[in-house]
Amino acid sequence: MLANLGFAVLVITLLVSIYGIAAALYGARTRREAWVLSARQAMLLTWPLVTLSALCLVALLVTNHFEVEFVYSVTSRSMPGYLKATALWGGQAGSLLFWSWLMAAFASAAGLRRWDRDREFLPWVVVVALVTLAFFLSLIILFENPFARLWAAPAGETVKAMFAPSGAVLVTPGDGQGLNPLLRHPGMIIHPPMLYLGFVSFVIPYAFGMAALITRRTDDRWIRVTRRWTLVAWLFLSMGLVLGGRWAYDVLGWGGYWGWDPVEIAAFMPWLTGTAFLHSVMIQEKRGMLKHWNMLLVILTYCLVIFGTFLTRSGVLSSVHAFAQSAIGPAFFGFIGLSFAASLALLLSRWNDLRGENQLTSLLSRESLFLVNNLLFVSILVACFWGVIFPLISELFTGQKVTVGPPFYERTTGPMFAGLLLLMGIAPLSAWGRTAGRSLGRLIAWPLAASLLVPLGLAFSGTHNPAALLGFWLAAVVTLVTLSEFWRGALARRRINKEPLPVALWNLAGRNRRRYGGYIIHLGVVLMAIGIIGSEFYQQETQGTLAEGQQITLGKYVMTYDSLAEFNAPDDRLVARAVTTVYRDGQKVAELYPRRDFYYVSQQPMTIPGVYSSLEGDFYVLLVGWEPIGSSGATFKIYLNPLINFLWGGSLVFILGTLVAAWPDRERKRAAARVPAGALVPQSK
């Protein structure tokens, strides 16, 4: 009953979306306001409709309706209620429904904004948002229906279908297969929603960009309208990436957080273009330049979002055969190809309208440094995209399968990331239009000199890896330059406004949140870079088989193996849990319990590490193997991940910075002049 309701509502939503698209197109063509408004109402209606459908599925999930194939495949009776509910995004069909729900929510939120100043955008934003939604709804209805049920055909085999095939009877299995154990982790419960929020909210800037192109309104209005959307999208995408890394670190049991897996890269690629976009829109706002480029970036980001959604859940890129066999793969590629071609054609047809209003006057200006920043981000994107699709190309042309793994990505993108760090150190000191080489030299001189102390000190204390030294030096440059920016600004404010230094600092950031929020983000990135450099270059590992009471040494740490127990946990898994004690410099610092869970139903092992964290780094131990009977021994794999907590701490600073930059302005309603920086000029003026 609920399944029928959920499915019917989805079909109705699809019809409503199609109506909305048609009404918006007709209204825009004939300039009949009533049709446009009706299209908007249709868009607003999609959210409650998809909500109802998603609630039907959640109700089926939590009430063990195993006759529904999706429920059967992702839940089981022994799973706690909250896991059953969040199993909504534990499989492809439910994920697509969840995606559509978020898409409808964002489309409705965009529909509810005040449109009085950009009325002409409305029908086109409705069209883009609803086309995207309609595509996902059709995928669900035609190929990946989460409401499809299991039927026993007269011949005896079980088939999956929405409605009873002739002569078939409904099958209700006694229990479900349960959620993939890897996904039963708090990180995996919040990671997909964050990622999807990031994906979906990038659709809105794209919709406005397309609306601006279609209506030939080529000022930067669309960028100003969507600035906050973009920042929020970017924030969620960043959080999704970090949470995914944390989940991998806690659950996948290989000592790392980022394995350059195609699924990770799929989420990383829109982040790259999104970050490039966030920087280059500033050039358009301040200088009226790069209009084509910004359109191209937002188009790329949209296509990569769709590509990412497809890649993260389907796994069909793993081989040509898997791709050819899945119905959903060609549909996705068709949609991506069509939207890319159509957007590009639109951009080309408006090429001459988008001419820049200013010219670049100097190579050493903030805008030219932003150009280099964009070049680096896009080059990293090219490397990532190439690495993801190359195995398919190789298989198609030579029949040979290849793996493109971490060594490729580290080698190609490493220097580009270093280049980005260097830019982060220089660009904040440069000015729009032109920077006098001398003034830049004067500003950068002392941070540069002071930063050299870091690699020198490290070299003296025994760090000799040139790449790591370079990385730490760049981190020091960015930190010092960024802090000096805060310091200079605060001193100037104190001087002009007679404010005490802390107040001056607060007001400085408050008066130009975007700029200083951006600096805080840079500081977060630096902290993350320190964590990445530390754990990439200085990770140590060892493995050994110990009898009870024996010990193993790694770096300053000694670990003793105390005992091991095997027992059945209530949620159908066999747990083997070791007790170990960790000593640092002879002092006991922690008792750790690395374990291996074996899930009976899915026949899947899961390795959960024991971790002792400190600012210095993590002591990370995995239980690799053990003798089930007696206590002859257990095998442990141990990693030392130096400085890794800078990565997690840095990501918090990063999020804080994004919040500062995206926080709504009190003076938001001020006239949208080309340079809204009037508020920057101190009030005493």
Partner: protein, 168 residues
């Protein structure tokens, strides 16, 4: 306002920077840590080889940390080969012969796979050239035009700078 001839220093620095990154992305590769040799192959020695291999079944999980039974057997094979005195490269070649190039973490740089390594640096260099050309064209167009009036933010920066100078 007169037009200042931009000094060649920043341009040279920018070009150097871009060429440097292009070169570095071709040349640079992280070194693997050296380990002491022991008479019998220790787990660490086995893992050092296994780390660089991927089994065809467990996608994207390096062999040294893969918990499946098949991967345990592969590690055992590596141990046997090491005991028999095989070098790291010989063992890797053996697995490539048995299972194809996909067992390697990255494809060998020959044939079509050479493209894997060439395209990203090439794309970067081409991109850099496009940016460079665009900037040059813009500047040539801009040359006769006077510099734009300073924006308010520049004004603010200038005031801060003035303020700082007064302090010195």
């Amino acid at each position: 306002m007169t037009h200042h001839r931009p000094s060649t220093l920043p341009r040279a620095a920018l070009i150097l920077f871009i060429v440097g990154i292009g070169l570095a992305s071709v040349v640079y590769s992280p070194a693997s840590p050296a380990r002491a040799q022991e008479p019998t192959p220790s787990d660490d020695q086995v893992n050092l080889v296994a780390k660089q291999l991927y089994c065809p079944v467990c996608e994207n999980v390096p062999l040294d940390v893969c918990p499946t039974q098949a991967c345990v057997q592969w590690r055992q094979t590596i141990r046997e080969k090491l005991t028999a005195g095989w070098s790291e490269q010989e063992i890797k070649n053996y697995f490539v012969e048995q299972y194809g190039a996909r067992v390697l973490a990255a494809p060998p740089a020959r044939g079509l796979s050479l493209l894997v390594y060439l395209l990203p640096p090439l794309a970067f260099v081409v991109g850099a050239y496009i940016v460079y050309r665009a900037v040059r064209t813009w500047r040539r167009v801009a040359r006769p035009v006077a510099s734009p009036p300073p924006t308010a933010e520049d004004d603010y920066t200038r005031r801060i700078e003035e303020e700082l100078r007064r302090r010195e």
